[in-house]
Structures are given as C-alpha cells and as structure tokens.
C-alpha cells in the first residue's frame, strides 16, 4: 500500500465528524462567549470546589483557637506541663496543614489554567517541562517540613497526656478525647505520605514530558 492509498483512506476518515454535525457560526460564537463547557473547565470547577472547602477549614480554625483562648481565660482548660503553647499547638498545626493543602490545590488550579498552545509542539513541551521543574525542585524540602510538623503534633499530643488518658470504654470520661486523639495521630502520620503522593504525580508528569521530548529529538 502506498502513500496515495493511505491519503485516500485518510480523506474518507477525515470526513467523519466527532460530533453529529458541523457547527453554525452562531454556535461557535456561543462557545467562545460562554467558555463554560470544555473539559478543562470542568476539571477547574472540581478543584475550585475543593479549594473552597479547604478555605472554609482555614477560616474556621482561628475561631477554634479563639474559643480555646476564651475557655482558657475562664480557667477551663488543662495545660500540659511541658508543652510550650499548651492546648493551642494542635489547632495551630492543623491550620498549617490546611494551608499547605490549600496551596497545593491552588497550584493545581494554576496548572489547569496554563496553556502553551501557540508555539511549536516542542516549544510547548519545553515550557511545560520548565514549569514542572520549578515546582518539583522544592519537593524534598516540603516532605521534610511536613514530616517535622507531623512529629511535633504527635509529640505534643503525648506530652499533653493525650495518650495516657486514652480510654475507649463506653462509660469512660475520656471516650471522645480518646477517639479524637487517635484521629489526630492517624491524620498527622498520613500527611507526609499524602504530600509525597501529590509530588509523585508531578514527578511522573515530568518524566513523561522528558520521554516525549527525547522521542521528539531521536533520529533512527
């Protein structure tokens, strides 16, 4: 089979339309004016929803801290003897994690918005690669920071007597606190792994870009 035959088949193929019919000029105008039904827009909306949810928690946590300060001023809080910052440390660290999560989603939204469509295919790939390199450079530092925060949080919980007073018996006085402590421990331990997974997605994409660029330059 020769090129002419391939082109003949291609031309038949090219007459097939992905959607049922050609768009009228009014439809084209409607699409570019509304800008709302594309695939990327849907992904962006999903991220925006997550962003709003995390933002809610970030805004809510200072109120929790204020509430604790209020209870403390009434002498209703017990202080861990050797913990600087006492009962405020845990909410502050949760706030730190949430701010990280918020920043991470913001970064994903930013990625969704980025397009390099006007240059050559190679230029677009190189620009995308450079963007991802900037992001992934800080990966080791971020994992380390999250691991340190998780350690401080668990350590604080232990010092405050959160482990000693654990009691899961139904009529026990600390049942709620005990379950809450377990939840906090699991959450904090999992955070560095979540961060690692998040970063892995960027690393995989970078590897994929590298491979594509390599293939592009390759000459058999």
């Amino acid at each position: 089979m020769e090129t002419i035959e391939l082109r003949r088949i291609w031309n038949t193929l090219a007459k097939e339309k992905l959607i049922d019919k050609d768009l009228a000029k009014e439809n084209i105008l409607e699409i570019i004016t509304q800008k709302s039904n594309g695939v990327i827009n849907k992904l962006q909306r999903k991220h925006q929803l997550d962003f709003n949810r995390y933002l809610g928690v970030v805004i809510f946590m200072p109120f929790v801290i204020l509430f604790l300060i209020h209870r403390d001023s009434q002498g209703l809080l017990t202080h861990g003897s050797s913990v600087p910052g006492g009962p405020y440390v845990i909410p502050c660290l949760i706030e730190a994690f949430m701010i990280y999560a918020l920043w991470s989603i913001k970064r994903n939204i930013d990625f969704m918005k980025r397009t390099y469509n006007a240059g050559t295919l190679k230029e677009s790939l190189v620009k995308m690669k450079s963007y991802f390199e900037t992001i992934t450079k800080k990966r080791t530092g971020t994992i380390l920071l999250m691991a340190i925060l998780a350690f401080i949080e668990v350590d604080t919980l232990i010092r405050m007597g959160g482990i000693e007073n654990m009691n899961f018996s139904l009529n026990g006085p600390y049942i709620f606190e005990s379950y809450f402590s377990v939840f906090i421990i699991l959450l904090t331990i999992s955070v560095p792994f979540i961060v690692r997974l998040d970063i892995k997605r960027y690393t995989d994409l970078l590897r994929d870009l590298d491979q594509t660029l390599e293939d592009l330059d390759e000459k058999e």
Binding site: A14, I40, N117, D208, L216
Partner: protein, 162 residues
C-alpha cells in the same frame, strides 16, 4: 475580532473534527472535547498575525491543545471510559472484513501523541518543511519519523491490526 475568528473557524472546522477524531475518538463527552479545542483556539487567536495560513496555525494550536488536555487528564487521574464507538471499534478490529478505514484508525490509535500529529499532518499533505515547523524539529528528522510511522502503519495493515 470575534466575527473574524468565527468566520475563519467556520471555514476550517474540519481540522477540529480531525484532531478530535485522532485524539478523543474513544471518549464519552465528545462535545466537551470539541468545545475545549474551540475555546483554546479562541484564547490563542491573538497570537495569529496572518503570516501563516489560518489552517496551518489552527492545526498547530489544535494538536498542542489536544496533547495538553490529555496530559492534564492524566495528571488528574481522570478515568476515561470506553465509549460505544470504541467498543464497536475493538470488536471490528477482530473482524476479517474490517474496512481499510477502520484499519487506519486502529493503526493511528496505537501511535504516540506526537506520531499521531506527524502522520495526520503528512496525510493532509503538508510538506516536510511545514510539518517540521509545526512540530519544532528538523526537516531531516521529520522525514525519518514519517518513514518510520508509515512503516509502522503499513505493518499494522498487513497484520490486520493484531
């Protein structure tokens, strides 16, 4: 500017169909992909200065946008379900009476995203020089790649796409 863009796109919308067909034929929400390419073309339109043919510029933007969309979906770990079209397509791949058209689709489906772009441009009779300018590689490299892809496609035809 909107009117100018609408007119040009209306005259050349076959390119959007072609690019969608080679990159997103197996997707469920086909209209969304079609619309996304039009949105990306509109966003890139200020960069079109009329020095090249509109169809050439449009092909380049569409291919860039299609590959970009696929990469973003992969990043989001978005599950792409098999559509009826693809199921038909797979079953027809086993059919001994498979048409040449289906064979070509199957062969193109197996190519990498870059190779898909190169062969689509080649089959649409763009010259090696034009293809090399759109992709961003040398003319000689383009020639080598086209020969390799053609061999791959023809081999696929001979083997009945298995």
């Amino acid at each position: 500017m909107k009117d100018e863009f609408t007119d040009l796109l209306y005259q050349n919308q076959g390119i959007v169909h072609k690019v969608c067909n080679i990159y997103f034929r197996d997707r469920l929400e086909k209209e969304d992909y079609h619309q996304e390419l039009i949105i990306q073309l509109w966003k890139a339109f200020p960069s079109y200065h009329g020095t090249a043919k509109f169809s050439t510029w449009m092909y380049r933007v569409c291919i860039n946008a299609a590959i970009d969309i696929m990469r973003k979906e992969k990043f989001q770990l978005k599950q792409v379900k098999l559509s009826e079209v693809e199921i038909d397509h797979i079953s027809s791949a086993d059919d001994t009476n498979q048409t040449n058209k289906e064979k070509l689709y199957s062969a193109i489906d197996k190519l990498s995203s870059i190779d898909k772009a190169i062969i689509a441009l080649y089959l649409d009779e763009y010259t090696y020089k034009e293809i090399s300018e759109m992709i961003g590689i040398s003319v000689s490299n383009t020639g080598v790649k086209i020969q390799r892809i053609k061999t791959q496609i023809l081999k696929s035809f001979e083997n009945g796409n298995h």
